[in-house]
């Protein structure tokens, strides 16, 4: 394992210390328990929006804390869900009297820890609503599995829902919008290489030099199949077609196309992928009205990418364009 770390046990804390020093104008960090929160939290009268998940996916979620997006983020250990005390602390910190929305990715650990935190928050007299994001089409949604994982759609949900909260919408409206985003977004990813969790010290899974894992999860969970390396367009087809099909896109639809790096894939390759998804959408008469390209929900140093498509309407488009001022996304300000 070759990484820029000091001691394994200090990794998450030291990374947060860096976030605090770099972005102290936007966010502050609490260290016991770990919470990244807006410097101006709580914003009186505004619905608080928090999320959280394992570390190792940066900039998600801490990089999305700030005006127009999240009020707080709870980083767990690497690839490990955060604990209820973190979410409880964050919930109290950001409650401006209008309640708090928890945006939770669909993993058994995240669900259980957020549920315990929501119980604790409600015991403390705070209105809490939770919305689970499950946009990964690589996983079969059935009674016999945990259901689809929450992946790239989470980034888009946090931006759009955060803008809605910033406008002063109430908790029920903010939560309903979040569910609506989740209904209209799908993703799928692939891995060219594995990644190494610092505490484990060796790669999470083995992948041959000529192999690709299609349908990879953001923690290195295996996906649909393992295949021999192909050209970028063929690989892109394997991601984009199931997404387009599952979303049921029709000619005339407008979408946001998000091509994401798993951490180790350079922007130049992402644009090769973006180009081909855009071609596929063009062929289907679908208009790419907005886009996002870059590393926003990563898996440490893994090489690979994911494709996320969100069906837009006027409100979601307007909220996507609304001002945002966070360490990782900023425009309109």
């Amino acid at each position: 394992m070759k990484k820029l770390i000091n001691a394994v046990d200090d990794f998450v804390r030291e990374s947060l210390e860096g976030v605090q020093r770099a972005h102290g104008d936007l966010v502050d960090v609490n260290y016991d328990p770990f919470v990244v929160f807006r410097v101006d939290a709580p914003v009186q009268g505004k619905v608080g929006v928090i999320s959280g998940g394992g570390s190792g996916h940066e900039p998600m979620h801490g990089g999305f804390v700030g005006r127009g997006m999240l009020d707080a983020a709870c980083p767990g250990e690497v690839f490990t869900s955060p604990t209820p005390d973190q979410m409880e602390w964050a919930t109290r910190k950001v409650d401006g009297g209008a309640g708090v929305l928890h945006i939770v990715k669909n993993y058994s650990g995240d669900i259980m820890n957020f549920e315990m935190a929501a119980d604790l928050g409600r015991d403390g007299g705070i209105q809490v609503e939770s919305v689970v994001i499950d946009d990964d089409v690589a996983v079969k949604d059935s009674l016999y599995t945990q259901g689809r994982r929450g992946v790239g759609g989470t980034v888009l949900a946090e931006k759009i829902v955060g803008a809605k909260a910033e406008e002063g919408a109430d908790l029920a409206a903010v939560a309903e919008l979040c569910r609506d985003v989740n209904r209209n977004v799908r993703s799928m990813g692939l891995a060219l290489t594995s990644c190494t969790v610092p505490a484990a010290g060796s790669p999470t899974f083995e992948l041959g030099d000529d192999e690709v894992e299609i349908g990879i999860g953001i923690h290195g969970e295996p996906g649909r199949e393992r295949i021999k390396l192909e050209g970028a367009d063929q690989l892109t087809d394997r991601l984009a077609r199931p997404v387009i099909e599952d979303l049921g896109l029709n000619s005339g639809d407008r979408v946001l196309l998000f091509v994401n790096s798993m951490g180790g894939t350079p922007l130049a390759e992402l644009y090769v992928v973006y180009r081909h998804v855009a071609q596929l959408l063009d062929e289907g008469g679908v208009q790419v009205a907005r886009h996002l390209v870059g590393p926003y929900i990563t898996s440490l140093e893994m090489q690979g990418c994911s494709v996320t498509i969100l069906r837009l309407d006027d409100e979601k488009t307007r909220l996507w364009d609304a001002p945002v001022l966070t360490p990782a996304l900023r425009w309109g300000v």
Binding site: P33, G54, G76, E77, V78, F79, T80, S81, P82, T83, P84, D85, Y107, S108, G109, M112, N113, E115, M116, A138, V139, K140, Y144, T145, Q146, R149, V197, A199, A200, T204, F205, G217, H219, G220, E221, P222, G223
Partner: protein, 215 residues
């Protein structure tokens, strides 16, 4: 009989075994999960030891509640809430008692198990820790009903947990991260069932060592 002091000894034994077996648990988890079960459990039980060091009372409620809070706060993942719920269930069942008879201990383990079921909402044969807990508690109840000593009954429970753990190998996971693998989760032993076996084996060991010392 089972005492608060034995409860503390049990938890310390679990902490030591988990520390020793952490790489093995992590390896099992890497095959079908996300490769952190051992490190998470070891971190959690280190926090448990710290809490126990600062604990003055040794009634079951205080001990198990401290264990639960440390696990919930430090383990993360699914195992934190699940094992945290287990010990919280035991704490609630036993309250401020500091010594209970064998059937009360069995009932408390059952209450802990029920808390795990309520939190995780898994079913038997989903390839989870329940597949080790359930046969173990059944074996414990049966052995006690036959009039066996607690130590012998817990040995049977630990053996049943081991069999349950091994029975997860051919199962297809339907809960947790391993469920994403579908058929590919076959032929791997569930890490949660494995740590559950270690926890029950530690309990049997502590009770049997205690009874050997007193006799």
């Amino acid at each position: 009989m089972f005492s608060g002091a034995q409860a503390v000894a049990w938890v310390r034994e679990v902490a030591s075994v988990i520390e020793e077996q952490a790489p093995y648990l992590t390896k099992l988890d890497a095959a079908i999960g996300d490769g952190d079960h051992g490190t998470n459990m070891a971190r959690g039980f280190r926090a448990v030891l710290q809490r126990l060091d600062g604990l003055e009372a040794d009634d079951f409620g205080s001990v198990f509640r401290a264990v639960s809070m440390a696990l919930i706060g430090k383990v993360g993942g699914a195992s934190g809430p699940l094992y945290g719920s287990f010990y919280l269930g035991m704490a609630k069942e036993l309250g401020d008692a500091d010594e209970v008879d064998d059937t009360r201990l069995a009932a408390a383990l059952r209450a802990g198990y029920d808390s795990v079921v309520a939190r995780g909402k898994a079913q038997l044969e989903d390839k989870t820790m329940l597949d080790a807990w359930h046969p173990a508690l059944e074996a414990l109840d049966a052995a006690l009903a036959e009039g066996k000593e607690l130590g012998a009954a817990l040995d049977e429970a630990a053996r049943a947990a081991e069999a349950g753990m091994k029975a997860t190998i051919p199962m297809v996971a339907r809960k947790g991260r391993a469920s994403y693998l579908g058929e590919r989760s076959r032929d791997h032993q569930d890490p949660g069932a494995t740590s559950t076996h270690l926890i029950l084996e530690a309990l049997a060991k502590v009770v049997n060592e205690g009874s050997r010392r007193t006799t």
